[in-house]
Symmetry: C2
Subunit: 188 residues, 2 copies
């Protein structure tokens, strides 16, 4: 039920094709939602068949034709109704944490390597978030004021990544200590 409203939200800002949407997902809402192109196309067909979207075929030469979707009045109504509807709070759901939970099945050195790999990934996503954030603050002030609420999820993404990184660093330090202890010949 969430994807359709993410799609409606983006098409409300600016109409576009499935292909366009996929890229806009990657560039703008990636920090709280993602979807494959198949999901996009399926959802667009559904929304169109339900009368929430208009579809205009745009013929191009040198390039494949595309279908540009935009909200109908019913689509806008549906979006507004949903925006006001209370939703349940989301909980973490991270497969890697199952691995950590079962971490005693792994030698500390290997656990350390895995964690380090994840830490690098999270540092990289933090960097992209901060770049996006910096770009936001380079926009003209009136745009910043208009878009400030849409910008808030990115700030949460940044804080969450920082929390993850802090946690991983502390865990790595502890694993280092554990390995040093295990590797010692006598002293305790």
């Amino acid at each position: 039920m969430s994807l359709r409203f993410a799609v409606l939200s983006l098409l409300d800002i600016e109409p576009g094709s499935g292909y366009d949407l996929k890229r806009r997902f990657e560039r703008s809402v990636n920090h709280f939602w993602s979807a494959s192109h198949q999901q996009m196309y399926r959802e667009l067909h559904k929304l169109h068949s339900e009368g929430l979207l208009d579809c205009a075929e745009e013929l191009q030469d040198g390039r494949p034709d595309k279908k540009v979707y935009s909200l109908t009045a019913a689509g806008r109504t549906a979006l507004e109704a949903w925006a006001a509807k209370p939703a349940a709070a989301q909980k973490i759901r991270d497969p890697f944490l199952i691995q950590v939970f079962a971490g005693h099945h792994l030698p500390p050195a290997q656990m350390h390597a895995e964690l380090q790999r994840h830490l690098n990934e999270h540092r990289a996503t933090l960097a992209t978030y901060e770049a996006q954030n910096a770009r936001f603050y380079q926009r003209p002030p009136e745009q910043q004021q208009k878009l400030w609420i849409s910008h808030q999820p990115l700030l949460l993404g940044i804080e969450t990544e920082k929390a993850w990184i802090g946690w991983a660093e502390q865990l790595l330090a502890r694993l280092d200590a554990e390995m040093a202890e295990g590797g010692e010949t006598s002293a305790g």
Copy 2:
């Protein structure tokens, strides 16, 4: 693919029925994974049919009989193999953030109320996590040492909830300012 290993991890610690597992999920791994009883039963059947679990029917009187599952040698092998297998880092995926992103469709007062509701929920889950954490530190030291790695996901849960709460408080403050400004008759 994740549920099966969460199930194997818990049954590796102690065998149990589907019903048992459901409760153990709620009490112990709830901060990073959850599942309904239907998922449990389905997964247990599958794991059993694949030879990763043994099943012993335990007849009880005064209560319904139960099926107690435990790992086979193949199950333990599968669990260990999976524990060593690199997994992709998880990204946030929160429907509420789509609502925030589309927040301009909502009057600030209503947005404020919704946020406050979510904030309360997150504060409540933080409280339960901290209670769980306190209980961990009341265990005997040798258990703490043995289980320290399995305890780490809870620490991440706590940090993540704190980050969420901090973010929401800052957003609420900003919404307050916004509403005060909008409610003023002249001064600005």
